[in-house]
Subunit: 243 residues, 2 copies
Amino acid sequence: MKIDPTSSADLSVQIAQSIKAAIINGDLIVDQRLPSESELADQFQVSRPTVREALKRLAAQSLIRTQRGATGGAFVNRLSFEDAYAQQVTTSTLLLSMNEVSFQTACEARYALERACAPLSVLRRNADQLATMRSEIFRQGQPDLSDEAFCASDVTFHRALVDAAANPVLSYQLAGAVEAMQPLMNMITFSARDRARIVALHSQIVEAIDQRDGTAATDGLQALETETLNLAQKVFETRSAKT
Amino acid sequence: MKIDPTSSADLSVQIAQSIKAAIINGDLIVDQRLPSESELADQFQVSRPTVREALKRLAAQSLIRTQRGATGGAFVNRLSFEDAYAQQVTTSTLLLSMNEVSFQTACEARYALERACAPLSVLRRNADQLATMRSEIFRQGQPDLSDEAFCASDVTFHRALVDAAANPVLSYQLAGAVEAMQPLMNMITFSARDRARIVALHSQIVEAIDQRDGTAATDGLQALETETLNLAQKVFETRSAKT
DNA sequence: CGTTTTTATTTGTCTGACATTTAAAAGTCT
DNA sequence: AGACTTTTAAATGTCAGACAAATAAAAACG
């Protein structure tokens, strides 16, 4: 682990990169303790605050965790699926909100990915996931549900659909795509008739998955994408007509 | 933006969370300048090093960028697709390497996602992307190519396939799935016959995309998944037989 | 008016110190 | 001897103040 003092980059950045490379490269393995901050400061020939800033950078990426006390220190962190989910969701959300990604583009990506899950979900779904989907459908049918709660329920429904594929890598990849859409969906107001159509499609999808009918599930998702796009277009037309 | 001094969490973590929430919430917009470190230290009633550690955490997530000098400071950063790609790739890579994800699971997720792209790629592919895929196929046919270079070319091929869908959100989501597989693929040694089969499937896929035949493209990807799994199984059997 | 120099501001880094947490070691009582 | 309590040492967390370096605006100068 070396750094280049002649480089223009900040020292703390270089140190963070150096340690990160060691982790990715396998020189530092999970749960291994890094040298103490003072020792790292000596090794890299910098002061302790500089080392600390580097460690904070790594901690922000869940690459290390720190522990205080006598046997404390910085440890290489096992990146859990939960950590990765969370990162994925915030990154995706910011990406969409900051880059003027059209609703259409985001929607297309999301449903393309979900359709990729469907054949696996059909094969592997368990009773829990079917029950979750059905109970969310029931909730979505309640007339006094707010639009926001409706969207939240929608997210839960689709997460169950994705988790039914029983592939944690897929679930991780899709967490962002599904949850990042929520702020965009929240801009839509759903009429009772809109909701009824969506609930009907949800029912169709869950029955297809129950019956292990992959084609019907995919078709249902396709119809849901079309429906969602139509709804969004209606909203945007109304909005532009007002201005 | 407030923090809770009675909380057990570290101050720098709380400050980072507070600023992060302000960005996600829209209170701080892209390119807006944050108060200087000294001002933030006053506002949060902490010392400057503590503020700095908080800012480094945010910088590590590409949420802010810093600039030195008279008009410098910390600015809310527009999270670019490039930044997000890079984060996605390293997160996915670490996730796979640290969690004993089976080759099968990773492979299944990757090809499921790629098949989701195929129908869109068929519709939107341009000449550049077809040319890239064909030139990578040519390279993969060179007998003196190392296994590592073969895998790298494979990644380039598949990225072109994904980019052909012309959906940046999809490309971002898939960057991780495709590139994170590379270290796993690198464990495989490809015989000349293995390579020939893969190249043949790649050719089939690119022709299908050229001909706008979505079904053939999907079938080709399915066959490639099967082929890849067979190869991996062969490697693992050989390896366990040796021990 | 254009160029150069100065200056003020801000981040980057250093030094040294103290506070807090934590587990192990030492001590004490039964 | 064993269980409980106290002490201690090591590590991170935080603070204060200082200087270095970069940078753009302001001032000085030709």
